[in-house]
Every structure is written in C-alpha cells, then in structure tokens.
C-alpha cells in the first residue's frame, strides 16, 4: 500500500478542523504531541484522584452507623476504584502504561485532587464529601463528557451515570442529621464549614491564574473554565444547603440575582500549600497508596506464575 506522507502543517490543520467540527479525536488519529501530553497529564491526575479519593471514606467503612450505610459506603468507594480504572484504561490508549502512571504518582511527579489531603474527622464528613466533593466532581465531569478525546469522553459518560448516587447518598446523610438532635445538626454544619472551601478549590485557580487552561480550551480538552464551573457548582449547591437548614460558611456571599451568587475570596495560599505537599494528609495518603500497592505484590506474582503454568 502506498502512503503519501502529509506535512505536519496539513496534519495539524486536519486535526484542528475536526476539533472545530466537534468530531472526537480517537487513539489512532494523528494529534499534536502537546495535545497528547496535556491529555495524559489531565487524565492521569483525574485517575489518581479517583483512587486516592477512596482513602478518606475508606477510613469510615468499619465505623458506619448502620448496615445500610456501610453497604452504601462500600458500593460508593468501589465505584471510585472503578472510575480510576476506566480513566487509566482511557489514558493507556495514548501510549502510556498504567505501570508508568502509578509509578509517577508514587514518585510525586503526578498529582491528584488536593481536596483528598484533608482528613475525614467524623461521620458527618461522609455526608459532606458525597454532597460537596462528589458534587463538585460531577459538575466538572458533566462538562468533560464533551471533551474532544473520544476515550476520555466515553469514560466520563459512564462515570457521570454512576456519580449521581454518590452525591445523593451524601446529601441524604446531611439531611438526616439536620432532622436529628442539636448535636447532630452541629456536626453537619461543622462538616460543611470544613469542606466548603476545599470543594471550591477543586475547580483550580481563577481563570486569570490558570496556565494550563488556554491550550486545553482551544483544543476542547476542557469545555468550560475553572471559574465558570465553580459558579455552576455554587449556584446549585447553595439552595440545597438552605433547604435543609445549613449555612454556607462565607460572610461575603452575595446573591446577585435570583439564582447567581458571588463568593468571598478563596484562600489561595492554602490551596498552593496543599498542592505543594503541605496539606494535613498529603504524606499519609501517598504512603498508604504505596504500602497497599507493595502489599499486593504477592497477588500479581502469584497470578503471573499461575498464568505461566496454564500456558504449558
């Protein structure tokens, strides 16, 4: 078969015209190296977040207050492990291996959402995490269903279907506590106070300070900016808080019109400190992942041996 090599300019022009026409880019299509690298960075960070995010909640499985809540929490955390796997699998279509991605996480070269570096102190935090942290993640993931890379977009569609129970189970915990005793109401309010700002930080720096956003928006890896997504999340979450009698911990919160809010200043110093490794649980989260991975080595070794035997 005779193949005529196209020039890089021509390939780039074809690529960009596909992006403009909302045609998904697939693994075997030509793509600029920067697009590929940008995707690997974003998708591996996303996959790592799903998996590291199992830890704050995993800590509460044995202390769930009822069998019902324990089963729900287990199913939710198992989903998050699944989300990590869909995303590693999608990232692998770009020619990077899962081994490499996990190694980069362990070496501190790849990041995960900084929100998971905060501790889950009591049962109300299971409510706040599901409602706010999954709620923020859903806002972002709904938008990413329209990302330009096919495998990433398909993973997002599947993840979004599964996520809606995550947020609802969290909100149900908060609601039940708000219907309970004074102490329970206070626990719920305290959990909201601690998780509200880290949840807002999940959307990343303001658009004016977000270095990776321009190219990602141009090539439609991201479809909405950090600030646009943050606004969406705030506008839908505040009425949910008010409905069950919770107060948003922001003195400067302003209602601009019927459904738009303006939030007070976010503590970006805290955000950057947590990203750089100085959050309350950074070290614990990474060490735990490395330990669990090493302790599982025998499973992989046994499986390899058994596979060899079955071949003979």
């Amino acid at each position: 078969m005779e193949i005529i090599a196209a020039s890089t300019e021509q390939l780039l022009a074809d690529f960009e015209s596909k992006i403009n026409a909302e045609i998904k880019i697939e693994p075997r299509d030509w793509m600029p190296e920067e697009y590929r690298q940008n995707l690997i960075r974003q998708m591996s960070q996303h996959a790592n977040s799903e998996v590291i995010g199992m830890q704050p909640e995993g800590n509460w499985i044995t202390r769930a207050p009822s069998l019902r809540s324990k089963k729900i929490l287990l199913a939710k955390i198992q989903d998050e492990g699944g989300h990590g796997l869909y995303l590693y699998s999608a990232a692998e279509t770009l020619g990077v291996s899962r081994e490499e991605l996990i190694q980069a996480l362990h070496e501190g070269k790849a990041k995960y959402a900084s929100v998971f570096n905060y501790p889950a102190l009591n049962w109300a935090d299971m409510g706040a995490i599901g409602w706010l942290v999954d709620g923020a993640a859903i806002t972002n993931q709904v938008s990413l269903q329209r990302t330009s890379y096919g495998p990433y977009s398909r993973a997002m569609v599947k993840i979004c279907k599964e996520e809606s129970f995550h947020q609802r189970q969290g909100y149900e915990i908060m609601w039940r506590m708000m219907e309970g005793t004074k102490d329970q109401q206070q626990m719920a309010q305290d959990a909201l106070n601690r998780w509200w700002w880290p949840a807002l930080m999940m959307f990343g720096p303001h658009d004016s300070d977000s270095p990776n956003s321009t190219l990602a928006m141009k090539w439609k890896i991201k479809r909405e900016s950090n600030d646009q997504l943050r606004e969406k999340f705030i506008n839908k979450t505040i009425p949910q808080a008010e409905l069950i009698g919770l107060k948003i911990p922001d003195e400067h919160l302003q209602l601009l019109d019927n459904e738009t809010y303006k939030h007070g200043d976010i503590n970006w110093e805290e955000f950057w400190a947590v990203i750089k490794g100085n959050g309350p649980c950074n070290q614990q989260r990474l060490e735990h992942h490395i330990r669990a991975h090493q302790e599982g080595a025998w499973v992989r070794e046994t499986a390899i041996e058994s596979a060899q035997k079955n071949k003979i």
Binding site: S97, Q103, A303
Partner: protein, 97 residues
C-alpha cells in the same frame, strides 16, 4: 520512564447490553490470564447489571487499520454507489419497495 513491574496484559472488553444486540467495546482491563480477565471485566464494567454477555480479547491480538492507511484502505467502497438502494430510479407510484 521505565516501568518496574508487571501488571499483566491488556485485554479489550466487549459488552452485550441485551440479548440480540451487538457487542460493544467498553474499555480495557489488565489481567494475567483469561479467567482473571473476564472476572476483572465483570467487576469493572458491570457493577449495575449493564450486560447479559461479556467478551474479553487480548489487546495485542486485535488487528486494526492505521489512521494513515484508512483513507486508501476504504477507498474502493466509495466508488460503488450502486450498492446503495438510493442509486436506483423507480417508476412513479411503485409501492412497498
């Protein structure tokens, strides 16, 4: 970057959502043999009864047309427009055709 460890081969996962429907590619899993591959595929892709049947295939066994080849590879079909029903002219008033 050199990866240090073996996490098994990559397997592509195909799911049939209802009897009678075509199998659809849903993603991939890592596994060391076919039994683990199909169990991993069940746990990762069918936690909510999404399927009635499941296939796993070693990724390296899949043969595909590369993106550069695609245009030439499929070209022959482009000329054969008489393979489509709309190619034929029909007398006015003909029914059930």
């Amino acid at each position: 970057m050199e990866a240090k460890e073996n996490q098994g081969e990559l397997w592509e996962v195909f799911l049939q959502t209802k009897p009678g429907q075509a199998f659809k590619h849903v993603g991939s899993v890592h596994a060391f043999d076919k039994n683990l591959a199909i169990e991993n595929a069940r746990d990762v892709y069918t936690r909510r009864g999404e399927g009635t049947a499941l296939w796993v295939v070693p990724s390296k066994e899949i043969v595909a047309v590369t993106a550069n080849e695609a245009e030439y590879f499929f070209e022959a079909a482009d000329e054969k427009i008489y393979r489509h029903p709309t190619f034929y002219s029909m007398p006015e008033g003909v029914k059930n055709m």
